[in-house]
């Protein structure tokens, strides 16, 4: 499975990448905001997108909107891993079609649980 991890902080990209590796995912690419992520997604045959919300250039919520409005990417599972913790933001992300939402700080077990849940739902 090919995964794209989008976060403007390299520390966080590395942490998520390491956690994903521990869960057995090895085909992982990185981008530092929505603007660099979108062209990668359009040409890259990704199976899963993990994105932060608050990033310069294009935010995670705008990236999500772009993904959902692109016929080729519309069904791509998207997990948000973000420090944005306002209720209205979580509701907005849900309305825009996010598949999972994790607030930072988080841990590996939460990441595994959410990923399992997303793929259970996608497969069913």
């Amino acid at each position: 499975m090919k995964i794209l991890v989008v976060d403007d902080f390299s520390t966080m990209r590395r942490i998520i990448k390491n956690l994903l590796k521990e869960l057995g995912f090895t085909n992982i690419e990185e981008a530092d905001d929505g603007q660099t992520a979108l062209p990668l997604l359009k040409q890259g045959n990704f199976d899963f997108l993990v994105t932060d919300w608050n990033m310069p250039g294009m935010s995670g919520i705008d990236l999500l909107r772009n993904v959902r409005s692109d016929p080729k990417l519309a069904s791509l599972p998207v997990l948000m891993v973000t420090a944005e913790a306002k209720r209205e933001q979580i509701v907005l992300a849900a309305q825009e079609g996010v598949n999972g939402y994790i607030v930072k700080p988080f841990n590996g077990a939460t990441l595994k649980e959410k990923i399992d849940k997303i793929f259970e739902r996608v497969e069913s």
């Binding site: 902080f9 942490i15 935010s59 420090a83 944005e84 930072k104």
Partner: protein
């Protein structure tokens, strides 16, 4: 009425002139001379309103002087032009330092994890091999005893290795602080930029002669949920989820 009030409303023309005007006004009203009435009211009012203009002038001078002293305040100039940019640079440096520290720690945990995995893996394999040897030489009691001690040692090594791997993951996760603290610091830097811009703008308006230091444009205003508002402080109120369980409950209420 205070002395100041009386002084403020001193008419500009003398008493005889005002009396003459007042009588002419009464006559105009009696004679239904509307044009004359309007002209006389205007003249009488003008006799007083001159003072209002004086007052406005005095206030304008006061505002001007205050702004002038504001502009000439060296401390404010230094604050806007040197100290605030300096504070921003220092905060940016804090982000760089924490990033370096987090990267260093991550490199170490990334190096150490496969080492531990190898130790655990080899210990397991060695234990299996020893068990086979012990089984094939079941009548050799001395060998059995040595294999027994080595097996206990290898079990302990495997257990410690598994725990160590978990602890390395914890150390890696702890580096998350760099993202969260970095985001909070960037918000403060953004706020400083906006304050600095406003202060420099005000100083330029009040004293155009002051050095025309270029004003950096503030990068967006914080606070818009759409753009992201960054990590929340503890006790941020009811509108903010406190942990992952809150997020899950909220999403569950939306049918997730």
């Amino acid at each position: 009425m205070t002395d100041t009030d009386e002084q403020d409303f001193q008419p500009l023309v003398d008493r005889d002139r005002r009396l003459a005007d007042a009588r002419a006004l009464v006559a105009a009203i009696e004679n239904e001379d509307e044009a004359g009435e309007a002209r006389l009211i205007g003249e009488l009012t003008a006799a007083y309103s001159g003072n209002i203009f004086d007052e406005v002038g005095r206030m304008t001078r006061e505002v001007h002087d205050t702004l002038r002293s504001f502009a000439e305040d060296e401390r404010l100039g230094a604050l806007a032009e040197d100290e605030m940019p300096d504070a921003r640079d220092r905060l940016r440096y804090v982000i760089t330092l924490t990033e370096q520290a987090a990267t260093r720690t991550l490199s170490i945990t990334e190096d150490a994890t496969p080492m531990v995995e190898k130790i655990v893996d080899r210990s397991r394999r060695l234990k299996d091999e020893l068990a086979k040897v012990a089984a094939s030489e079941a009548d050799n009691s001395r060998l059995g005893s040595v294999v027994g001690s080595m097996t206990r040692y290898l079990d302990a090594t495997t257990g410690s290795g598994e725990r160590l791997k978990g602890q390395l993951t914890e150390i890696m996760m702890a580096q998350e602080f760099q993202d969260l603290s970095g985001q909070l610091l960037m918000r403060v830097i953004d706020l400083l930029e906006q304050l600095e811009e406003k202060l420099v703008g005000l100083l330029q308006i009040t004293a155009p002669v002051r050095g025309d230091k270029s004003v950096e444009t503030g990068a967006g205003k914080p606070g818009d949920a759409e753009d992201g508002v960054g990590p929340q402080m503890p006790d941020a109120g009811e509108n903010v989820v406190k942990n992952q369980d809150d997020v899950d409950d909220l999403l569950a209420s939306l049918g997730f």
